[in-house]
């Protein structure tokens, strides 16, 4: 039986391509929303966008140095606007404004009630995880 494996060097290569620490040039964005209080990727639009994006624009993510060769990490801080709201989801995107496209990772989470100028800091970590065989 033929095995298909994604080896360590491949993991590091892909991580380098998306991280400035490894020479990647892509820009990433983090957005939040008020939908998707149950689980990730099951609510409406969950596979392609946030279920219900909030009015605040996505922010450009700060990309941290790779903590490991196969790991990328992005951080974004979003600030609540004039209207109080309960944030229940967030996403990491490779588009700053487009809808229904550009989503890389989406999470839903317990509702966080925010007043004006309250902030949430999201830290997205993507690791191409290997398992010794």
């Amino acid at each position: 039986m033929t095995a298909v494996i994604f080896v360590e060097t491949g993991e590091a290569f892909v991580a380098d391509k998306v991280s400035p620490a490894g020479g990647g040039t892509a820009t990433f964005f983090i957005g939040w929303g008020t939908g998707g209080s149950s689980t990730g990727a099951t609510a409406t639009n969950g596979d392609v966008d946030l279920a219900a994006a909030a009015t605040e624009a996505r922010v450009t993510a700060t990309t941290e140095d790779q903590s490991a060769a196969d790991t990328c990490r992005w951080i974004g801080i979003l600030t609540a606007g004039a209207t109080a709201k309960t944030i229940e989801e967030a996403g990491l995107f490779f588009h700053g404004t487009s809808t229904a496209t550009g989503l890389i990772i989406r999470t839903s989470h317990g509702g966080v009630a925010l007043a004006t100028d309250d902030q949430i800091q999201y830290t997205f970590t993507l690791q191409f995880s290997g398992t010794a065989t």
């Binding site: 095995a3 494996i5 994604f6 080896v7 360590e8 491949g10 993991e11 149950s38 689980t39 990730g40 990727a41 099951t42 609510a43 409406t44 967030a90 990772i105 999470t107 839903s108 989470h109 317990g110 966080v112 925010l114 007043a115 004006t116 100028d117 309250d118 902030q119 949430i120 800091q121 999201y122 830290t123 997205f124 970590t125 993507l126 690791q127 191409f128 995880s129 290997g130 398992t131 010794a132 065989t133």
Partner: protein, 54 residues
Amino acid sequence: MTQAKASSGAVARVEIAVRRKGETEFKPVEEKTLPEWMAERMAKLIKFGKGESP
């Protein structure tokens, strides 16, 4: 063939921290991981069927 390591796939983790207006530090409130999402999603799919939103 020498196989040093086989990937089990990508693992995503999201850490969530909140800072209220006037506070100086972010306080962690939650951490989510991909396997957790997958387990929840599978449970929903089994219960409600693909394409339906519970």
